[in-house]
């Protein structure tokens, strides 16, 4: 636990001392603010469904940029060797990096909560879908962060890590489309791998344990693969 905290503090400093984090947050807020304003004036309804989908698509692009350096940079600079030859366990390294990236994503989500506050001040929204939407976004962000971390552990090139993680995320987002072309039971299997299929209920106000379990499974698999990339060969 002590090592986890030490590594987490180091990662938080690395993230928040980098101009990349501020650029990402600024661009995210700008695009989300634009979407929220547009939706509000076009639809004139007190809901955030479209905002949640907009945020989800942005996360597909942004999260890999946040996670690309986590392990790839350590591998390229050789500092991974220092970490792995210290009395530190792989799980502590992986969890600290995962938690640090979630901190930034959590900050971005909490800043998006301003949209909900605006709705609450000027209208009477249905809060259920708003809460579930934010929960869904948090789970999606965490799943994408776990995927990004695993990919970052497989290479020493940050650009490769970002592009591959982006590709995996986008493929999983839209993989349900191909399900329509496949015979039973493959159509069900492929559809159940889809990020959008499991995110949509959250965004529209329905929380199913199966969706929750899916995201937790993706997170777990991502973290296990990340640990595997650090395993001594």
């Amino acid at each position: 636990m002590r090592n986890f905290v030490t590594l987490l503090v180091k990662e938080e400093k690395a993230i928040f001392s980098s101009p990349i984090a501020f650029a990402i947050v600024a661009v995210y807020l700008l695009l989300m603010g634009y979407t929220f304003t547009l939706m509000l004036f076009l639809n004139r309804t007190a809901e955030l469904v479209r905002v949640f989908f907009q945020a989800a698509v942005l996360f597909l692009l942004i999260v890999p940029v946040i996670t690309m350096r986590l392990l790839a940079e350590e591998r390229r600079n050789g500092t991974l060797e220092i970490l792995l030859t210290s009395p530190v366990r792989e799980i502590e390294i992986v969890l600290a990096k995962f938690a640090a990236s979630l901190t930034l994503l959590g900050l971005m989500l909490s800043l998006t909560a301003v949209d909900a506050i605006v709705l609450g001040v000027y209208a009477d929204p249905d809060w259920g879908p708003i809460y579930s939407g934010f929960l869904g976004l948090l789970l999606l962000a965490a799943a994408l962060a776990a995927i990004g971390l695993a990919v970052s552990g497989l290479t020493s090139n940050q650009i490769v890590a970002a592009v591959v993680a982006m590709g995996v995320g986008i493929l999983l987002w839209m993989i349900d489309s191909i399900g329509y072309l496949l015979p039973d039971p493959f159509d069900t299997i492929v559809t159940n791998l889809s990020l959008v299929a499991h995110f949509t209920p959250f965004a529209t106000g329905a929380v199913f344990l199966s969706d929750l379990g899916f995201f937790l499974t993706v997170i777990l698999v991502g973290l296990l693969v990340s640990m595997r990339t650090l395993a001594r060969r």
């Binding site: 002590r2 090592n3 030490t6 590594l7 180091k10 690395a14 001392s17 600079n77 050789g78 500092t79 060797e81 220092i82 970490l83 792995l84 030859t85 210290s86 009395p87 530190v88 366990r89 001594r232 060969r233």
Partner: protein, 314 residues
């Protein structure tokens, strides 16, 4: 001398490539062992196995009796490691980095500050303690890397090519530092430069293509070496005179060609013996025609061993 490091039939395969081939050696407490070999000879792989970064394909590696695979965390606590090119977190300050590493090495809050201060002082990093590592010179970065390795006072220090990329002055400083660290702890140091190993190590293990060609003592060559003298005078009296000089371990007649004065080879125990030998020869009234200092030639030894292996292979 109890062995701090024991390698038994250590073997490492990278896929189909054999990087370390059944290597066995021991390093005693307080000893400085040099691993010498050309690039790709398996030096770094052996070090990485001992630091726990790599697993051996077969064979065992033990540090202070602890198996580096079965007792990995405990074994790692006994090693201070400086990888090649001293990788560091360039965005961190020197003290910040040392505190970070100290925490990872399990130093308690009470002992952390004192340990960091001691390492900072030992490596003469005081003026740089608040400097960002990325702004330091190569020599200072190497010192920071060694300072982190000393945290927790491990009995074993592993240094991979510690003089790489340093300027001549920094190389001399690094050499002195390594020698000053020896004795109080066991050190394993690698280099592909013969002279570096010869100057710092007590023994050297020569590696080629993953195989250990031999382990040789170099302390004697560094501290004394061999003198080659051409002296005019009666052979028996000259030999007796030379053998009587304090610090002379052995005297041998090398050659005598025709009427030219013979050449004597004198094994000296320390460098100052040369002066004493010259004084004794002159005082005794012999004609000292030449005196050369010939340290044991590690280069020749290396070439011989690697040449033998090449012949055996070819």
């Amino acid at each position: 001398m109890s062995a701090v490091i024991v390698a038994e039939q250590l073997t490492k395969w990278y896929g189909p490539r054999l990087a370390v081939d059944h290597v066995s050696f021991t390093v005693g407490a307080g000893e400085i062992m040099g691993l010498l070999g050309p690039n790709g000879s398996g030096k770094t792989t052996i070090l990485r196995i001992f630091t726990g970064y790599l697993r051996p394909s077969s064979g065992t590696a033990r540090i202070a009796g602890l198996d580096v695979v079965a007792d990995a965390p405990a074994a790692r606590r006994r090693v201070g490691y400086v990888p090649e090119d001293a990788p560091l977190y360039l965005g961190m300050g020197v003290r910040e980095f040392l505190i970070f590493m100290g925490r990872l090495k399990g130093l308690t809050r009470a002992s952390l500050g004192a340990a960091v201060d001691a390492a900072t002082e030992r490596l003469r990093l005081g003026p740089m303690r608040t400097a960002q590592i990325g702004r330091l010179s190569r020599g200072y970065r190497q010192r920071v890397a060694i300072a982190q390795a000393l945290l927790g006072d491990p009995p074993l220090l592993i240094l991979d090519e510690p003089t790489n990329g340093l300027d001549p002055r920094q190389i001399i400083e690094m050499r002195e530092l390594i020698r000053s660290l020896g004795g109080e702890r066991t050190i394993v140091v690698t280099s592909h430069i013969l002279g570096e190993i010869q100057r710092v190590a007590d023994r050297v293990a020569i590696l080629l293509a993953g195989q250990l060609l031999g382990v040789h003592a170099v302390r004697a060559s560094r501290e004394g070496g061999r003198l080659r003298l051409r002296i005019r005078g009666e052979e028996e009296r000259v030999s007796a005179c030379l053998a009587g000089v304090p610090g002379v371990a052995a005297v041998r007649l090398e050659s005598q060609r025709g009427s030219s004065p013979p050449v004597y080879l004198v094994d000296a125990e320390h460098p100052s013996v040369a002066e004493a030998v010259a004084g004794a020869v002159i005082t005794a009234g012999f004609g000292l025609l030449s005196l050369e200092s010939m340290p044991v030639d590690l280069e020749a030894l290396f070439l011989k061993l690697t040449g033998d292996r090449a012949e055996a292979g070819g």
